[in-house]
Symmetry: C2
Subunit: 211 residues, 2 copies
């Protein structure tokens, strides 16, 4: 089973497609964020799907009223995205507006310093929201594996945990899986590597060996 | 002084430019959101600025880690936006990453039902964050004027309040200003009107009379 998600945070269409092609064999999915969509247009989603033939996660971090979330997600699902990442803190109606259109992944924890101000104190409420809404998965950072364990202990078993922060941000892929993560999201360590394919292979094997 | 902001939530480039041209005389600024940017490309920001010659607010509701917020906002400021709307909920480092690049407007309150779960209970903390960060303005909805009064009473005097929810969502422009709002954001009532120019003129005069 593949557990590696590539955060494809490069901003040129050709480079994005090239890295997707080189690494796809070792990935479960590809994640794109707004900078690539702004740089290359929303059509990049379809191109990446055709190139890599993998699930595509649109990391939009949607956080608007239900109607606006619906309009934005609608355009991105239409473009071919399989999963859309949405914030839980704007409430369950805003999340459900996206879930009516396709699979969602909910942010329940973040790890930058500012996340300590409002997001981290709300984590129990955000986990409860996820348990009620029943998304495909939640996002929780690998930089603090004990937080993944905590979230795993509170979260319905069938909801996946996807964890960014491995590699350049200091988190360990192996520890994240041991703590209960299902998928590990890696960006810079792969796309800034001199050999992205080789780096993806290494990480894939590390993840296979960890389980 | 003009106090009307048009929420230009139409999704076709030609229609957006047409309404901007027709109504610009009565507006302080134009606000665009992701659906128009996705539909018409980020270049629509420059075209709207050239057409209407008004301040342009990019309502991105950014809510990511500082580095990603910076990358997204950078592209949108580069495209010509004068203000970027960012969530306070993801913490002051995420807000400051945008403010280093240009003027920001911080969401401190929302009015959809789901806003009662996490956003509204955090309002005092979000106002404090705004007072510390000193943005151009904050977003607070017109559907509950008493909340605008409350926010105004806690917010540094020089920080503007921009208030959506007037018109189709039921809020009154006059009451919002009386409660302490500086700018009123109107969408559907104008762009779904048979005569957007006339409707914008009416609202402009109502706002002028209210002060």
């Amino acid at each position: 089973m593949k557990r590696l998600v590539l955060a494809l945070d490069v901003y040129e269409r050709e480079r994005a497609l090239e890295i997707a092609r080189e690494t796809s064999e070792y990935l479960w999915a590809i994640k794109v964020n707004w900078p690539l969509i702004l740089g290359a247009g929303v059509g990049i989603i379809k191109e990446l799907k055709e190139t890599a033939n993998l699930p595509l996660i649109a990391d939009l971090k949607l956080a608007d009223i239900p109607n606006t979330n619906r309009l934005v997600a609608g355009k991105v699902f239409e473009a071919g995205a399989d999963y859309v990442i949405v914030h839980g803190f704007t409430g369950r109606d805003s999340v459900n507006a996206v879930k009516e259109l396709g699979e969602v992944i909910i942010v329940v924890e973040m790890s930058h310093p500012g996340a300590g101000e409002f997001i981290q104190p709300a984590v129990d409420g955000l986990i409860k929201l996820a348990n009620d809404v029943r998304p495909f998965g939640v996002i929780a950072p690998a930089t603090r594996p004990e937080r993944i364990s905590y979230i795993r202990s509170k979260l319905r078993g069938e909801i996946k945990i996807l964890t960014p922060g491995v590699g350049a941000q200091g988190g360990s892929a192996k520890k994240a899986l041991e703590a209960g993560a299902d998928y590990v999201i890696v960006g810079r360590s792969v796309y800034e590597s001199r050999n992205p394919r080789e780096k993806a292979r290494e990480l894939h094997e590390e993840l296979m060996g960890a389980i």
